[in-house]
Symmetry: C2
């Protein structure tokens, strides 16, 4: 599966929102429903516990031939043989990680600014997470709301895949697909807190599932 196809939906983990289910339960349901990209995100876990989680998710994602990204911790990504790392504004920079990364290692970067998007693309980022597209309560550091228009400006600035993030629901995914050439969306609550994660995954992916030739 090519990167763009896998990035129609990135399922970002959150233990608290998954309760009473485990993150692994929700990820497994997501993979069964067609998700092909998972990002392990746990800002409070120690490296040791994060690695344990990463190894469990690595086994699951391998089973479905899905991509696994680790938020922030490049070292844990290496140790868990994840496909890549996702770097936010407080994390190591794309250029620093690209220099130290093995060949084929994927790097995602967060930005809502076209100029920064061009720079991280030049620095070696493989995809961009762009938002917050809609209001969200999941990420305290999500910054301002850029809307589908703001997302479209970032998408149009680069060649690499861009996924919209921030308060994305199935309705939001449809708006994003209609109003931009974004590759897909990344979500935390929309899947982790969903009563039926399989249904949520299918609804979130559907707007991006037409042939990629139609997307430009």
């Amino acid at each position: 599966m090519d990167l763009g196809s896998a990035l129609r939906l990135i399922v970002i983990t959150d233990h608290g929102l998954a309760v009473p289910r485990s993150v692994e339960d929700v990820v497994k349901a997501s993979l069964e429903a067609g998700a092909r990209a998972v990002q392990l995100r746990d800002k409070h876990a120690s490296a040791r516990l994060l690695l344990e989680q990463a190894r469990r998710l690595r086994a699951l994602t391998h089973q479905w031939e899905a991509l696994l990204f680790i938020n922030d911790r490049f070292d844990v990504a290496l140790a868990s043989e994840a496909d890549g790392v996702h770097l936010g504004p407080d994390d190591l920079s794309v250029s620093v990680v690209r220099k130290a990364a093995p060949p084929g290692f994927l790097i995602g970067a967060s930005t809502d600014e076209p100029e920064v998007a061009r720079r991280v693309e030049a620095d070696g980022a493989d995809y961009i997470g762009c938002g917050a597209v809609f209001p969200t309560s999941t990420k305290k550091d999500a910054g301002e709301i850029i809307g589908v228009e703001g997302l479209a400006r970032v998408v149009d600035a680069v060649e690499i895949p861009v996924v919209g993030i921030g308060g994305v629901t199935p309705d939001g995914a449809r708006l994003i697909s209609a109003g931009s050439r974004a590759t897909g969306v990344a979500v935390i609550g929309a899947v982790m807190a969903a009563r039926d994660p399989r249904l949520a995954v299918r609804d979130l992916m559907a707007p991006f599932s037409r042939p990629s030739g139609d997307r430009s």
Copy 2:
């Protein structure tokens, strides 16, 4: 300088204790006084800020041909071209980091148990930080007080250098030197909070400054 000689004293950083001076000020004074090993430790800093600190300390430690270790974050250690990483009980394991580390990269590990010490030595650790030797308030996760006797048991279990940590003052350093074959000591408060860091460094190193042939 050989590793054992450099590890007579590891100066561990702490912004809060260094106030009103900067960590860099205190580290510079320590290097001037003869310290040849620094560990950057900041559990609350983002990776980006930790890397910025690491680069400043890398410039300083290079100037004095001293070793720089980064606590916990193997990725930041790689990115800053530090000499090594120090791994605590909640961090990545020695074996995991050894597999991913470039040749010559140094790994320190914390333990107060002879059996664990032997295991991390076999896994590729280059030195061990062992404690808490004395009561301490700096590290909340320091565990029980093992005394000089407990330290001596770990020292005698392995071939690699062992440094005592936990509430070590100049008096404590003398007790450790007299009561064990430890290579040296690692301190946070004793240098970071010292009114005169140069004096503290000299007093902490003095007990370990006789020729190493006399130490066994």
